[in-house]
């Protein structure tokens, strides 16, 4: 988002091609997330978990086109808090992105950003896994993408947003994507309540190969997520691609080492979780860090997340698939790391280098303000939406539907059919 965009430039075919490719890469992350999540739930909920990600692609694409994009990237109408309605339905959106002198057609930017809105919303399904009604989820996500995601994207990424003007650096979504989804996930988990039987019953992952496949797809797509956020195909994109990968590597190593030390075994779920934690952490910082700090950032996120994952048992909130421990914690670490290691040599948009590069506390303070503001807004707004929906249409499935599994109760399907004896023949 902070690419060198000093003067309005012609459309560059290279930049445009790269951004369209990245749009496809980021789109793939949502099915990747679906598998990452589905492997971690019990088999009776696997399809419902996948379905929530897939339906989010559909729902948020529509809300983004209708109003979300305009609220995020139209000229500001409320002191840096929200964009106007001039671009609703994408009318006038092909002309320009207000304040951003891009070298790509504005509609490429619209599509690229749409994929971010989708993925961020889909992340929330990990907090409410195994107990949310499908209709309630669809309603919640539609409202959330407009009321929470779009304004926060405006704060941080619109040149007229208040956090952007306050000097927050967030390359690809430490606040807008990771902190936002993490804080919202906590609110949603608190409002909807724990899964029946949690934490006493065994709720172990049913298909870890699926989770690792999903983690691989996420990793693959993340290159587009971060390097695409350069909005150009040049030095900055190349640097972002490299440090993104390195941070994922650091996260995997960090998690596995701590896990081996604590429990005696390095697990595949730990490898997948650590890599994702590292990728989360580099998201805001991908355009500002050199390779070695990126490796350190990933390792830090991996190590801290191992411990953060225990918090839900301590504080008794059922954030089922650890959106808080991985995305919120990683997002905070990455956002603050910019204040420590941001390097002007990597990105000339860095005006105050990080504390450890001799730049003083200025940038770190700005990052801290961004963390607090994004956390407070996302948590409070999501809590309010979820609370109102719970009081009106209801969020949870019936207890027996939950025991039976969401696959059959919500979708009339089962993910795995292994027996030949369960059927009674075709009935219509």
């Amino acid at each position: 988002m902070h690419a060198l965009l000093t003067e309005a430039a012609q459309v560059s075919s290279g930049d445009t091609a790269w951004l369209i490719v990245c749009t496809a890469l980021v789109l793939l992350m949502t099915p990747g997330l679906a598998f990452f999540y589905a492997g971690m739930v019990r088999s009776k909920h696997a399809l419902a978990m996948i379905m929530q990600s897939f339906v989010t692609i559909a729902i948020v694409s529509v809300t983004w086109v209708l109003v979300g994009y305009s609220l995020a990237f139209d000229h500001d109408v409320a002191g840096g808090l929200v964009g106007g309605l001039h671009l609703t339905g994408l009318t006038h959106a092909e002309v320009a992105v207000p304040g951003l002198p891009l070298t790509v057609p504005p509609l490429a930017f619209v599509a690229f950003q749409m994929m971010f809105a989708i993925l961020t919303a889909a992340l929330l399904s990990g907090a409410s896994a195994d107990r949310m009604r499908f209709g309630a989820f669809v309603t919640f996500i539609a409202i959330w993408s407009v009321v929470v995601y779009a304004p926060l994207a405006h704060w941080v990424w619109s040149p007229e947003g208040w956090l952007n003007r306050a000097g927050l650096l967030d390359f690809a979504g430490g606040t807008v994507v990771e902190i936002c989804s993490g804080a919202s996930a906590l609110a949603l988990a608190l409002v909807i309540g724990p899964r029946r039987g949690w934490p006493r019953e065994m709720m172990a992952p049913h298909n870890l190969p699926l989770t690792l496949l999903g983690a691989g797809l996420l990793w693959f797509g993340w290159i587009g997520f971060n390097a695409g956020s350069a909005l150009s195909a040049g030095y900055l994109a190349a640097s972002a691609a490299l440090v993104t990968h390195l941070s994922g590597v650091g996260g995997m190593i960090g998690w596995l080492v701590i896990e081996k030390w604590l429990t005696g075994k390095a697990t595949t779920l730990g490898a997948a979780s650590g890599a994702v934690a590292g990728l989360v952490a580099i998201t805001p910082a991908a355009g500002f860090l050199s390779p070695l700090p990126a490796l350190l950032l990933g390792a830090t996120a991996g190590v801290v997340s191992v411990f953060a994952i225990r918090l839900k048992f301590r504080f008794k909130y059922d954030d089922s698939l650890d959106v808080v421990a991985v995305h919120y914690v990683g997002g905070v670490i990455g956002t603050l790391f910019i204040g420590l290691f941001a390097a002007a040599a990597v990105n000339p948009a860095v005006r105050h280098q990080g504390l450890l590069l001799g730049g003083g506390l200025t940038q770190l303070a700005r990052q801290g303000i961004g963390v607090l503001a994004a956390t407070a807004f996302a948590f409070i707004a999501t809590y309010a939406i979820a609370w109102v929906l719970r009081a009106t249409i209801g969020l949870r499935v019936e207890p027996d539907e939950e025991s039976e599994g969401l696959d059959t109760s919500q979708h009339a399907e089962t993910a795995y059919e292994f027996t030949s004896t369960s059927g009674m023949g075709r009935v219509s």
Partner: protein, 112 residues
């Protein structure tokens, strides 16, 4: 006639099958089973959440035999399934009132 049921370690199934075939046992039914005896389960850890897994995977094998063959069948199974370590399983025997071969309608020992 006797029904001999054996609970054995999954990786011993092929050994037991081969041993039974060698002594002329012509039919055998197996199914997946889980349980525990003196062998307790194990612990699994997922993202720091520890679970005690009480039920260990086993294979249940069922063999029908004439009264006079039963002792030999049992001995064969026990020998083939034994590793000497805890968790090798169990074998038990029940009387069977009647056996019918579905295809021919034969009854009794002829149906085994």
């Amino acid at each position: 006639m006797k029904l001999i049921t054996a609970i054995v370690k999954p990786f011993k199934v092929n050994d037991v099958r081969d041993a039974l075939r060698d002594i002329g046992v012509l039919g055998l039914t197996v199914s997946d089973a889980q349980g525990y005896g003196r062998q307790r389960g194990h612990t699994e850890v997922y993202r720091g959440a520890e679970y005690q897994i009480d039920f260990v995977p086993k294979i249940r094998m069922e063999v029908l035999a004439d009264d006079e063959d039963a002792a030999h069948v049992i001995e064969t199974i026990v020998t083939a399934a034994r590793t000497g370590k805890i968790g090798d399983g169990k074998v038990w025997v029940q009387d069977v009132e009647e056996v019918v071969r579905v295809r021919t309608g034969e009854c009794g020992p002829a149906a085994i």
